[in-house]
């Protein structure tokens, strides 16, 4: 986790279409650099590299038939790592299905992420000390959870923030509307973080909604809405940190919840089952690749003297090792045991389910795994 830093500039008093920026595409400073120490910045860089490298390897694993469908995040590291870094230890993250980068900042082992996408039940077992909700596949369905969980925390007088991720497409779902509206009404400490990566599979952002920005949807809920350059990790950090602090502070006259629209792009396919060349131009992809968050931060850190070739090389090696280790660990995980299917449907197996389990186990005992895996 990153160290806590001093008060952040208020970023909420601006036009919805005026994104917060700190670094330009070349890594030049164009805004207020957040007050993070050098190690925190290097950590951010390391996490981005780690996410990027992990992503590439995961895509290969899928291609090699070593993993199932996988949703890549490449291009979105700035938004993921910058925002997750803005949380404190006890805060919570409520992800969709693409936030492997954010999750690793929160302490979710890469191995877990791999197991999940490898279809192991164990992939669902987020460790008790990792404040991350389960992956949510039905679009926007996690939004009301983030509101409810934050509400619970507020009711208990705890002081935690809940960072909820979702995509541009998710803003069209009823659950987005209901969840954010509840947050406004009950003033819950929730930060709604929209990863606007321009596409919902093949459906472009303009087809989702006629509103000029997604940030302005905050108007409908009487909460703050703000755009940020989602490929600028420092800008993302600043905005998210401000939102997190506001979420926790009932003393300000601002609403606790915030809607952040982080403008970004996914470089790759929607998932490994998707072929983006069918619906979008290479040109577009190239334009966005010029905004790649990683070289941007690297260039800034080098110019600040925080990174040099040596340190970058160390990070490269570290990152490769960690990913290789995680893959090794995930792949040496024993195949899930069929009984795991029955284990967590209820705290205690109801009698009929127990019967089903016993019939199943007896059949497997008698006929072996070939009776299931025949095809």
């Amino acid at each position: 986790m990153y160290e806590e830093v001093g008060p952040t500039v208020s970023v909420f008093d601006r036009a919805y279409d005026d994104p917060v920026r700190v670094l330009d595409e070349d890594g030049e400073v164009v805004g207020d650099v957040p007050d993070l120490d050098a190690e925190a910045l290097v950590e951010m860089y390391r996490h981005m590299r780690l996410a990027r490298h992990f992503d590439g390897r995961a895509v290969s694993l899928q291609r090699q038939g070593r993993m199932g469908t996988y949703p890549p995040l490449s291009g979105q590291e700035g938004a993921q790592i910058g925002s997750a870094a803005a949380l404190d230890e006890d805060d919570w993250m409520v992800p969709s299905y693409r936030e492997h980068g954010a999750a690793l900042v929160r302490g979710l082992p890469l191995k877990q992420t791999l197991l999940y996408w490898m279809g192991h039940e164990a992939g669902n077992a987020t460790p008790e000390d990792v404040n991350v909700f389960p992956v949510a596949v039905p679009i926007a369905s996690q939004v009301p959870h983030a509101t409810g969980a934050a509400w619970a925390s507020k009711l208990r007088g705890e002081n935690d923030a809940f960072l909820c991720y979702f995509g541009d497409g998710a803003t069209s779902e009823g659950d987005f509307h209901e969840g954010v509206n509840f947050a406004g009404v009950f003033d819950t400490p929730t930060v709604f973080f929209c990863n606007n990566n321009q596409w919902a599979i093949s459906v472009p952002r303009e087809r989702q909604t006629r509103s000029a920005t997604l940030a302005q949807k905050a108007e409908a809920y009487g909460i703050d809405g703000v755009q940020v350059d989602g490929m600028d990790p420092l800008a993302v950090y600043s905005v998210t940190r401000a939102a997190v602090e506001k979420a926790r502070d009932p003393e300000t006259d601002r609403p606790r919840p915030t809607l952040i629209e982080a403008i970004q792009y996914r470089f790759g396919a929607h998932t490994t089952a998707d072929d983006p060349t069918v619906y979008r131009d290479e040109d577009e992809v190239d334009r966005w690749k010029a905004k790649d968050p990683i070289p941007r931060l690297e260039s800034y850190l080098r110019s600040e003297g925080v990174l040099d070739d040596e340190r970058v090389a160390e990070i490269e090696t570290d990152v490769e090792t960690r990913v290789a280790d995680a893959i090794e660990a995930a792949e040496s995980e024993a195949r899930p045991k069929p009984e795991e299917m029955f284990e967590h449907a209820y705290a205690e197996l109801p009698p009929e389910l127990e019967r089903q389990y016993e019939e199943f186990a007896a059949f497997r005992e008698a006929h072996g795994d070939e009776a299931f895996l025949e095809e």
Partner: protein, 328 residues
């Protein structure tokens, strides 16, 4: 002996909420009009004054939001009791119910359990407008991870509600509004539970087993009394929980006579009567003397209220069904 009160079903529900909220600070109620208004059926009457607006919460008009927020609360360890105003309005929250409420335990391998109880007034018979008379318990019984409870007496209403609220897993608690105020029962003032998953024999009889639940228990008993006059003795079993079903009780009652009738107000096709029939014949075919007769609502949208008496099983229709099973 403990004190009792003479309560209707809806008063017993209210009392159950009151008692559990007093016992456990983590219990809270949320929904439309549950606060100052005390619920459109008065099921939460006085709770707002007693426990305040943080534990008896009027929400915006959004069922998916209500269920979804309760999922989030329950994941954090609270015991929310969301109310959906009528069971016909659970559908806008259906995705939250089946995709999350039912599965959060599985989806986190037990890290997050959801000790939440979703209450809804349910069923027909009160001359209500369209969509207010649904009985679609079969939807929820088909979704693994949920328990589905339907009380038929004030005593059970309080005790089953307490059991549901204390259950580590999510429960759908459907309250037959036809009998909300139909009669009273002695209900202990102190907290108690009635176990989920156990049927109750409401009447003994050696000629035929009749399975039912909720509001249909009363016309079923009426039919049984009337048949007793012509020498047909019915065993009437009130299932009380429709998921998980009390298989043992069903099979035992059936085997005693080899004849059975299932009564519910839900539409016939895909209703629980089919499931119960299947259980019977997979466990006790050799005892079977007659087809299991289903006396149910029809496979049509619930009619406007002028015709609802023709839609709902009546004692006369149940009687006829029982006779068919007995005379086969």
């Amino acid at each position: 002996m403990s004190e009792t009160q003479n309560l209707t079903v809806v008063q017993a529900v209210r009392d159950g909420l009151y008692t559990e909220m007093r016992e456990d600070d983590e219990v809270l109620v949320l929904g439309q009009d549950v606060g100052k208004n005390g619920g459109v059926f008065r099921a939460t009457e006085g709770l707002f004054d007693e426990f305040g607006g943080d534990r008896v919460v009027d929400t915006p008009l959004a069922e998916s939001g209500i269920v979804g927020a309760a999922v989030g609360m329950a994941a954090m360890g609270l015991r929310p009791v969301p109310e959906i105003q009528f069971s016909g309005f659970m559908y806008p929250g259906f995705d939250q119910i089946v995709s999350h409420m039912a599965r959060f335990r599985t989806r986190s391998r037990g890290r997050f359990s959801l000790p939440m109880t979703l209450r809804a007034p349910y069923g027909g018979g009160i001359r209500a407008p369209e969509h207010h008379s649904e009985s679609k318990e079969a939807f929820y019984a088909h979704e693994a991870g949920l328990k589905v409870v339907i009380p038929s007496t004030p005593y059970d209403a309080k005790g089953l509600l307490a059991a549901s609220i204390r259950d580590p897993d999510p429960v759908i608690f459907l309250e037959p509004k036809l009998i909300y105020r139909a009669f009273r029962d002695e209900v202990p003032e102190e907290p108690y539970t009635v176990p989920i998953g156990e049927a109750a024999t409401r009447r003994e009889g050696g000629d035929v087993a009749v399975f039912t639940y909720g509001a249909m228990t009363r016309p079923t008993l009426e039919a049984a009394e009337s048949l007793a006059e012509v020498g047909i003795e019915c065993e009437v079993v009130d299932l009380r929980t429709v998921s998980p079903l009390d298989r043992e009780a069903i099979i035992e009652a059936f085997e005693a006579t080899g004849r059975a009738v299932v009564v519910h107000e839900a539409p016939k096709t895909g209703g629980l009567a089919g499931e119960i029939t299947a259980i019977i014949q997979e466990e006790a075919l050799l005892y079977q003397e007659a087809p299991v007769k289903r006396v149910t609502g029809f496979d049509v949208p619930y009619p406007l209220y002028a015709l609802e008496d023709y839609y709902l099983p009546t004692a006369a229709r149940i009687e006829e069904g029982i006779k068919e099973a007995v005379e086969f």
